[in-house]
């Protein structure tokens, strides 16, 4: 790497993503919320679709959008060991490049999942793709391989027969890599330039599908990572543990940070206030009726929205936990997390049906029910006034 190129990479890596970007799992800091306006209400197989492009294989990871690029991961083959990273032009849907890797770790997983389960994270310089097999690669925006690591090669006891799905996140020039499993478990910060460990914090053994959150606390950037024994805050610069909140364990859904509160899924949804030193006092809100299931809770417009495995869509007041509605819909099972923007909440089922719910109403009164007719397990992305939905077969840009 030339000095000039390296300097450019470092400078751009440190730059924050622009507002319209949806750069990681559930978008900005995994909140699932976009500031964009003019988002779509109605679409179907033959309407409301700006473009649709075929994917080489299945995956349950989410698309991410940075600048004019959409990145997607897929996995194929009888053993699910052919790993694909693809970049598309967000304007046209044209495939810009695709790279292929071979899984170097175990590839068994729950039939619903895939080796392409963790969502990639991107910045203006490129994309970082983690696969459930422990394969981790960084590609520049033009498809140049920046680095590749076999985490199972590095730490051979990594194992999870159900399949891993926690997604990496970016903190400046560090890629935060969650790797809770039944072997050597850790949370690591990897430098984005060469892929070497900056720090690696040991974690208790145990499988976990949660994605880390990031927050600023008294001048320190913290990484919050929930696991079976609670939510732990790490100093993003050093990996030092700062505090633990045992009442907020993590398993599948990911918590949300909003208004100084941590909304966490644990037998419903609860919220605690976060101060500079960690959790302050007891939960300020608890709802046992808002049950997230596989999908993460969404905090938006003063409400907490959840969808569970039976198609129950629930809304409660974010401040009080008061139930506004709990509606048994015809969605059926949902793995994708609800996302929101422009006053609308999008709840997508595994069958590819999306309910569009007005966020401001206290009663269940959907604006539209939109059916793509294809399996959707990954959470949609919002960018450029559109929804990006990856199905088992296609990537769609929906809206303008």
């Amino acid at each position: 790497m030339t000095k000039t190129f390296a300097a450019v990479v470092l400078a751009v890596a440190a730059a924050p993503a622009v507002a319209a970007d949806w750069a990681q799992f559930k978008g900005p800091n995994a909140a699932g919320v976009s500031d964009e306006k003019g988002l779509p209400v109605e679409w179907g197989k033959d309407k409301g679709i700006r473009w649709k492009t075929a994917l080489p294989a299945r995956g349950v990871s989410c698309p991410v959008v940075v600048g004019n690029r959409v990145y997607v991961t897929c996995a194929s083959g009888k053993r699910d060991d052919q790993l694909h990273v693809l970049a598309f032009d967000a304007t046209t849907g044209r495939e810009l490049w695709r790279r292929q890797l071979l899984a170097t770790g175990p590839t068994s997983c729950h039939p619903k999942s895939s080796m392409a389960a963790p969502t990639p994270v991107a910045d203006e310089t490129g994309v970082y793709a983690l696969f459930a097999s422990g394969d981790l690669a960084a590609f520049d925006a033009d498809g140049t391989l920046r680095w590749y690591r076999s985490l199972v090669g590095d730490y051979p006891t990594i194992t999870n027969q159900v399949g891993m799905a926690s997604s990496p996140v970016l903190v400046g020039d560090k890629l935060i890599v969650p790797m809770d499993n039944d072997g050597e478990s850790f949370l690591a910060a990897v430098d984005t330039r060469y892929g070497k460990n900056v720090w690696k914090a040991a974690r208790p053994k145990g499988i976990n599908w949660v994605t880390p959150l990031v927050r600023e606390a008294g001048g320190v950037t913290e990484v919050l990572f929930a696991g079976p024994s609670g939510t732990t805050a790490y100093d993003a610069a050093t990996g030092q543990q700062r505090w633990v909140y045992k009442e907020a364990p993590g398993n599948i859904p990911t918590a949300s940070l909003a208004d100084g509160l941590l909304y966490y899924p644990a037998g419903g949804v609860s919220a605690v206030r976060l101060g500079e030193a960690g959790v302050e006092g007891k939960p300020v809100m608890t709802s046992r009726l808002a049950r997230p299931g596989m999908a993460s809770p969404l905090v938006y417009g003063g409400k907490v929205f959840t969808v569970d495995g039976q198609g129950f869509v629930t809304a409660v007041e974010a401040k009080t936990g008061k139930l506004l509605y709990k509606e048994r819909t015809k969605l059926g099972e949902a793995s994708a997390s609800p996302v929101a923007g422009d006053g609308k909440v999008y709840v997508t089922s595994e069958k590819g049906v999306t309910l569009v719910i007005p966020a401001d109403k206290d009663t269940f009164d959907p604006l539209a029910t939109n059916d793509l007719g294809e399996e959707v397990l990954g959470t949609p992305a919002i960018s450029g006034g559109s929804l990006f939905i990856r199905t088992d077969k296609h990537l769609y840009r929906i809206g303008k």
């Binding site: 790497m1 009888k78 790279r99 391989l145 159900v162 060469y194 070497k196 460990n197």
Partner: protein, 404 residues
Amino acid sequence: MIRLVRGLWPAGGAVLLALSMAGAWSVAADNDLKLGLDALKSVGREGANHENAAPAWKALVGAGGEALMPALAAIDDADPRAGNWLRSAVSAIAEAEARASRPLPAGKLEAFVKDGKNAPSARRVAFDLLAKQDPAAKDRLLPGFLHDKSPDLRREAIAAELAKLGKADPAAAKAGLQKLFAASRDEDQVGAIAKKLEEEHKSPVGVTEHYAFINRWHVVGPFPNEQGKALTLSHPPEALTEPKGIFKGKGDAEVAWKHHATDDKMGMLDLTRAIAVHKDAAAYALAVVTAEKETPAEFRVTTQNAVQIFLNGKKVFEREEYHHGEVLDYNSGAGVLKPGPNVIVVKICQNDQKEPWAQKWRFAARVCDPTGGPLPGLALLDAAGKPVPLGHNPNPTVRKEDDQ
């Protein structure tokens, strides 16, 4: 013409950071190419040598189509980590050539695919590139891959032959299915072909024997276990070379070896029946496999419990994971069988989970070649010490769905 830019890789040598221009490939470029490939193959644990590998990758891809075959060939002796640096370079080169409307070297790709000395995973990549450019290559090449070392090429070859058999007369179909059964390795293909032979041709085949499952064991237990300590809490049986002795087991109870055979088609031995239902417990199963000659082998265990595998007293594999699935062959170690008797000991550990789905304490183990196929010259000693074929199972049973 190759334009060379001197850079810093690998350590100790001033070599190229090069981008290609169209033209002839020179000796100097070959040397630089080798240095570049060496730089890619030098990547190590936790990002070691990435500083050198990144520019080498860029140079390799920049060199264009001329670098395709060398990059593919370099996968042969690369470790899996380096293999992915090379594999991604191959995909980038092929993509750039396609965009430039330059055909890939079909003859070289085909020769590479057909050469069984090349790495199976690299041959798979070459096959895909070739088939994309020349769709007829599949029909031409797949019939030769029925016994291929590449599991994917073998699988595709079997699938293609199976499709053809649909039009064959019954006698030819039966003979064809028998041939495909012998070649098949993937569980779904083995099962589908065996079912066709049995149901459509009344010609049952030995699935247990095909997989070379060990289905006669000497078992002892329970011994104490504790989640988190399954791999470090050792008990005397794992060092033994014969099933003899009485031991102090869990709760200081005396435990002794008992012989158990399983007629389960997939070789599963249920320890809750062979011993009893126990939590926080370990059991040992010992089998003696004879080999006619020194034989490299894989020892594969299917279980949803923690496992250790020992060959002649030496540990060849271990994993502690409980009740997350029971994928065929998820646990696999390699070793070399010596001529004569070999002692295989499998330790299976149960934890203390209470959930109904976490009560199974069972395993299946087999000895096979790297493709998962049976090895010649092996036999299993039965309870009387008499050799029988591995997996010999005249009356196989199939577990009920709720017992899967």
